[in-house]
């Protein structure tokens, strides 16, 4: 009997021992590799920058040392989401700080502006939130972590037609914002090609104020949905006008919109009840094992819940870190850029990410909705 018990304990101990897969311990070399971070940390878009940086710091806490023992140092530059400031920040990071790579948390406009300079200096730039296809078109050193607007616009149009079964849509766009006009055009093309009707295409200017007359005209044409690839402030003006008119059409926004709304304009969330948006992340969606660990780490570091921006920041750092770690010389920018553009099935927070040699990313998109003031998950599109 005793022998039997001993044998069972012995076998159990072996099973337990074999089951413990300890990661190798890395000793610090004392050296640091610099990674630049450009983003709007002040101004009207500060939610993107600050949340994104929180995500970066979370991922950094999870991966502090490269395999060779080098640490990572962040050099953070605020561009207020203004292209000129972004250009200035890039120059500083290249010439003064000598960073190995840059993660940029700004919109498509600023990223489009720095593309040529990044190519000239052969500086790998990973655009975490810029979805405009031209950010990577004709660029060798700018890569996207997010899906691009061809994918986003197409999915939005198909979602409206096939899931919402809506055929009459009015589109709003801002020609002063490259991202907005491209996405609006892409949506319109796809929607019309599948038999949808664009009741009106509204081109907003920065000085547009009379939303009521615009919306009244749209309402008369029996429009069922408003497609709004706009900034948060513009969408808020439209929502207020709709409330005054007592008209409640379906509304679909684009990436980051609802996150900004619930971060910077939470008091107006009631106006946006039921609004849909294409996005990168939702806390309710299934996460990868890396995503679950990152979420746990994030909660241990910050009081506020993670959002799309922090997720993209975290994934951006993890992917950049992975690329640097795969290079023999962690300061070899050519190699880092090559590795970024050779990322296949990298496990991000919400799913697998692949960055093609042309710098474009393949990653899932989610559709969110505001329900009772909270961001709820609707579907995930691969």
């Amino acid at each position: 009997m005793k022998k039997l018990i001993r044998f069972t304990i012995f076998i159990g101990a072996i099973v337990l021992f074999c089951g413990c897969d300890q990661p190798p311990v890395i000793e610090s070399s004392g050296k640091n590799i610099k990674i630049g971070v450009i983003g709007p940390f002040s101004g009207s878009n500060m939610a993107k920058g600050n949340s994104g940086l929180e995500g970066i710091k979370t991922a950094m806490a999870m991966h502090p040392l490269l395999r060779n023992g080098d640490g990572v140092e962040l050099v953070v530059e605020d561009d207020k989401n203004e292209p000129e400031l972004t250009l200035y920040a890039l120059k500083k990071l290249i010439e003064k700080d000598g960073v190995a790579g840059i993660i940029i948390l700004s919109d498509s406009g600023p990223v489009l502006k720095i593309g040529p300079l990044a190519d000239i200096h052969r500086m790998p730039v990973l655009a975490a939130l810029a979805t405009h296809p031209d950010t990577t078109n004709q660029r060798d050193f700018v890569s996207q972590l997010c899906f691009d607007d061809n994918f986003q616009g197409t999915v939005a149009a198909l979602f409206v037609m096939d899931e919402l079964i809506i055929e009459k849509v009015a589109i709003f766009s801002n020609p002063e914002n490259a991202y907005s006009s491209f996405l609006a055009a892409r949506f319109a093309n796809k929607f019309k090609s599948i038999g949808g009707e664009i009741t009106e295409s509204i081109v907003l200017r920065n000085d547009t104020t009379d939303y009521s007359s615009i919306l009244s005209s749209i309402h008369r044409k029996k429009t069922e949905l408003l497609y709004l690839p706009l900034g948060a402030e513009e969408v808020l003006q439209i929502a207020k006008a709709l409330e005054e008119m007592d008209w409640k059409p379906e509304m679909l926004g684009s990436d980051g919109l609802l996150t900004t709304m619930l971060t910077q304009y939470k008091e107006y969330s009631g106006l946006l009840e039921g609004m849909l948006s294409t996005d990168f992340f939702n806390r309710r969606m299934p996460l990868t094992s890396f995503g679950k660990k990152a979420l746990k780490k994030y909660r241990s570091l910050y009081d506020n819940p993670p959002n799309s921006y922090s997720v993209m920041g975290g994934e951006g750092y993890a992917l950049m870190f992975n690329a640097i770690d795969r290079c023999k010389d962690p300061n070899d920018r050519e190699c880092i850029n090559r590795m970024i553009r050779n990322t296949v099935d990298f496990t991000g927070i919400t799913g697998k990410i692949t960055i093609k040699p042309n710098g474009k990313a393949t990653r899932p998109l989610v559709v969110n909705v505001i329900k009772e003031g909270k961001l709820e998950f609707v579907v995930k599109v691969y």
């Binding site: 979602f159 096939d162 697998k352 995930k380």
Partner: protein, 630 residues
């Protein structure tokens, strides 16, 4: 109109000296002479000579001393209790208001009462000896406090031998935890448990004897005591009740006797009731009750106490956790189990028929035919016998049971395999598929069924319920599926179905053995080695079952999450409407209903498959049903 005494002697102590003034200034015209108790004790004969009524206020011992004098000199007694003497107030139904209690104490309306002496000590309320679970608790104690007290007291509970002799010279030898002699039992939990035919002048002593044979019985008594109502009497399995003019108590060990809560004497104990010994002014409520007395007879209700051979068993140090089954039940069950363990022609025939029926039912995918086979299957009986054999280390019972089970298994496997060889069509029906993925849930079914099987087997009255158990656990159908696996030479088919049968077998044996132990059919687990062996198998079998259960849970969650997945394939939008995940050998088979607006070509399907395999498991077999959106 109330009638008061003319003269009364007031006996007080230091604590009750303050009552002299209100008593002497009473408005009833009663002339009061006050004497301190210490002064009285210096020359009681002189002080009490010619006294007809005495009012006393002091400690319980002072009151008892006065009652002793009352027996001797024949005066009536009025009692003024102190605020702390709650038992006394309750016992004599005395008012709480000072003026009312003085009023009562001075009245000329005393009630004749018996006095109980325990080893010459006056007992007013109760005397206890040994460990008495709960009965001495107040009746108004909350249910929560009963439970707390009960939990404290069950530790170290033990039975000791007692000899009682009562007035008719009847001698009773039993074992008990303790006894409680009660005079006026109103106000204790014990009062809820005994009959209410006592009166103040019946010349009888009531005694409760507590004898829980096991911790389980003690808790059953606890639940009965909590639910007991004074107006609805019943016999309690752990309580004996004796009512007699006198009782002699002798215990195996010398036990301390607490009279009214004070440690004053020990066993052997002689208690006797002195009929109509004193006259006391009691409260109106009690007077009404005492007036309704009926003729009282001696009572002896000791059916629930250990007697005869049972006394030999109780000589253990502490009471066991589980009770022992009665000899009659024990004899009946063992006879039945030995018959169940024997191989006979009926068993062989039923095994053959039930397997034939199960196999055909599996091929027909017919639940009702399979249920018929379950009812016909005789395999449960030897498994239950084996459980008892292992529990009691009865080698004959174990060996014959094992032999019978093995023969049953062999018949089932061979029969099902033969039918499969004859039957040309190799289909996997849903009834077969349902028996190919055993999980922890099946083990739970086996355990519950094992408990149910042992329980129904133990009680002839509910034996008809065994059919339900047979349906729940379904022993033959998994064997038939395993046999089909042999016939098809498919090891996966065989191993999964046989794992299910093994799960049932192990679960039933362990659960049935445990149940028999709880029901008291074995004082201990004698066959420790055999049970340990089954337990190791239980642990080993739990590993694949846990993994399987985890897989099932994941699959169900996966199926749910699939409904939120969409795919953009060559600019075509695919909506996953429904998904079903199944294990197919070492891969997963996902069957999806896909909604789309445009026709899908081969390239689309290839792209779709690639996307699924990139973002989900690579070892997925994808099966899609395309539904077009009009």
């Amino acid at each position: 109109m109330a009638n008061y005494v003319d003269i009364a002697l007031f006996i007080y102590t230091l604590e009750t000296k303050h009552l002299i003034e209100p008593l002497q200034e009473n408005s009833f015209g009663v002339k009061i002479t006050s004497v301190a108790f210490d002064v009285l004790m210096e020359d009681p004969e002189n002080e009490l000579e010619g006294i007809e009524h005495l009012v006393v206020s002091g400690s319980l011992n002072v009151i008892k001393e006065i009652l002793n004098f009352a027996m001797k000199y024949g005066f009536s007694v009025g009692i003024i209790p102190m605020n702390t003497q709650k038992d006394l107030i309750k016992c004599f139904a005395l008012p709480r208001n000072k003026n009312e209690v003085i009023d009562l104490a001075l009245r000329n309306s005393s009630q004749v009462m018996d006095i109980i002496l325990c080893n010459q000590h006056i007992m007013l309320f109760q005397a206890t000896l040994g460990r008495l679970p709960l009965m001495d608790s107040p009746s108004d104690i909350s249910k929560f406090n009963i439970v707390v007290k009960a939990l404290k007291r069950f530790v170290g509970l033990e039975l000791a031998l007692f000899d009682f002799t009562i007035a008719n010279q009847k001698k009773i030898r039993t074992a008990a935890c303790g006894c409680m002699i009660i005079q006026r039992h109103e106000g204790t939990l014990a009062s809820k448990l005994i009959s209410h035919d006592s009166s103040f002048t019946d010349g009888m002593i009531s005694m409760l004897v507590s004898a829980p044979r096991s911790i389980v019985e003690y808790f059953i008594f606890l639940s009965q005591a909590i639910r007991a109502r004074a107006d609805r009497k019943k016999d309690y399995s752990t309580i004996g009740y004796i009512k007699s003019p006198w009782i002699d108590i002798e215990s195996e060990k010398k036990l301390t006797v607490y009279v009214d809560g004070d440690n004053v004497t020990h066993t052997p104990l002689h208690c006797k009731a002195i009929k109509e010994a004193v006259r006391v002014n009691i409260g109106e409520g009690l007077r009404e009750k005492s007036g309704k007395s009926q003729p009282v007879i001696e009572r002896v209700n000791i059916d629930s106490l250990p007697r005869g051979k049972e006394l030999l068993r109780v000589k253990t140090k502490k009471i066991p956790f589980f009770s022992y089954a009665s000899e009659e039940r024990f004899r009946d069950l063992f006879a039945a189990l030995r018959i169940d363990a024997r191989i006979n022609a009926t068993y062989l025939m039923l095994m053959l028929l039930s397997t034939l029926l199960a196999t055909v039912g599996l091929y027909l995918d017919s639940s009702s035919v399979i249920i018929g086979a379950m009812l016909l299957a005789p395999l449960m009986a030897p498994i239950v016998s084996l459980a008892m054999g292992m529990l009691r280390q009865d080698e004959d019972l174990s060996k014959s049971s094992i032999k019978k089970i093995i023969i049953g298994i062999a018949i089932a496997l061979m029969t099902a395999a033969l039918i499969t060889l004859i039957y040309p069509y190799e289909s996997i029906t849903s009834e077969m598929a349902g028996r190919l993925h055993p999980s922890l849930l099946d083990l739970s079914v086996a355990i519950i069924s094992g408990v149910a099987a042992a329980y129904t087997k133990s009680y002839k009255e509910i034996i008809q319920s065994l059919a339900g158990v047979a349906i729940a656990v379904a022993l033959v159908p998994p064997l038939a599926v395993a046999g089909i696996g042999i016939g098809r030479w498919d090891s996966h088919f065989f191993s999964e179905a046989f794992l299910l049968f093994g799960t049932n077998l192990i679960g039933i044996i362990l659960a049935a053995a445990f149940t028999f132990r709880v029901l008291g059919y074995s004082p201990a687990i004698k066959g420790k080695r055999s049970i340990a062996f089954v337990l190791i198998f239980f642990v080993l079998i739990s590993i694949p079952l846990s993994l399987s259960f985890k897989r099932i849970v994941e699959d169900r969650l996966h199926e749910k999450s699939w409904q939120e997945e969409r795919f953009l394939v060559n600019e075509k939008y695919l909506i996953v409407k429904k998904a079903q995940v199944q294990d197919f050998r070492d891969k997963k088979l996902v069957t999806m209903d896909i909604l789309t607006r445009e026709p899908l070509n081969r390239n689309d399907l290839t792209q779709f498959k690639k996307k699924v395999q990139t973002h989900f498991a690579r070892r997925l077999i994808i099966n899609i049903n395309v539904i077009y959106i009009p």
